[in-house]
């Protein structure tokens, strides 16, 4: 049944939710299907707490001058515009 994943995620209208719920009570194969989706969604959700480490520390991503007086440019490669960081900000991206 096509509505099962959206049902498991609670994305359907109230009427649809009721319909699917009723169907699941009477149809074993759809019920099992719903269980599989439930498991998959739980696993996907758990990925939130599995994180990657940036290869470069953000501290090392900066380019340009690090003079404490000159404002400097942090590369916004691909973002089009470089981000201008005021002098005071320069400290921030150094490594601890």
């Amino acid at each position: 049944m096509e509505l099962i994943p959206a049902y498991v995620k609670g994305e359907l209208t109230r009427n649809q939710m009721n319909e699917v719920s009723e169907h699941l009570q009477n149809c074993n194969s759809c019920y099992e299907e719903a269980e599989k989706w439930e498991e998959l969604f739980a696993e996907l959700r758990s990925l939130v707490s599995y994180t990657h480490k940036p290869e470069k520390k953000v501290a090392q991503l900066t380019r340009g001058k690090t003079s404490s007086l000159t404002p400097w440019i942090v590369g916004g490669v691909g973002l089009g515009v470089g981000v201008l960081i005021a002098a005071g900000g320069a400290l921030l991206w150094r490594k601890k």
């Binding site: 959206a6 599989k36 998959l40 959700r45 990657h52 470069k56 490669v77 981000v83 960081i85």
Partner: protein, 190 residues
Amino acid sequence: MKVEHVLIEKVKRGDPKAFQELFSRFERDIYTLAYRLLGNREDAEDVTQEVAWILWSKIKSFRNESSLSTWLYRVTANTALQLLRKKRKIIYVEPSAHTAEDMHLMLEMAVMDLQENQRTLIVLRDIYNFPMKEIARMLDISEENVRVQLHRARKALRKRLEGGENGGMQRSSGTNTSLRKGRADEKSNE
């Protein structure tokens, strides 16, 4: 949480050390979301950098009514999607040197292996739990369209995972860095 609020207040007053500490709490989360949306490290690092700047420059407008992580996830997703749109034609997913080690890694690899628009939807909705409305807004498509495409994406993911048992996952691309389980209290995003 309380410590975080203290940090936020300090950052609002322009304390760079507090900023560094605050940002380091979220750096991996920001980077990971960006990586999952963009599929390569360099772009994810650029986005992380950009989000650092946004956090520093916009923190005064952050109100404590939502959690900072929710706010940062939203900013990160928007920034990454903006980049994705600009680079649409040349986006590639880095091939991974890893083989699937465990369920989480294998699942992530399957997600990363989806075509771009499907990956985007799974990441935003099923991993990060953004509301449907917000996803529609972020991608500038109708909610109905989100529903339809999300359904396809979910089915495609299931198919990949089920093919995985007989080696279907072999050519998966995905993480070059290993996954780290975060602290339980970092988990919430809503």
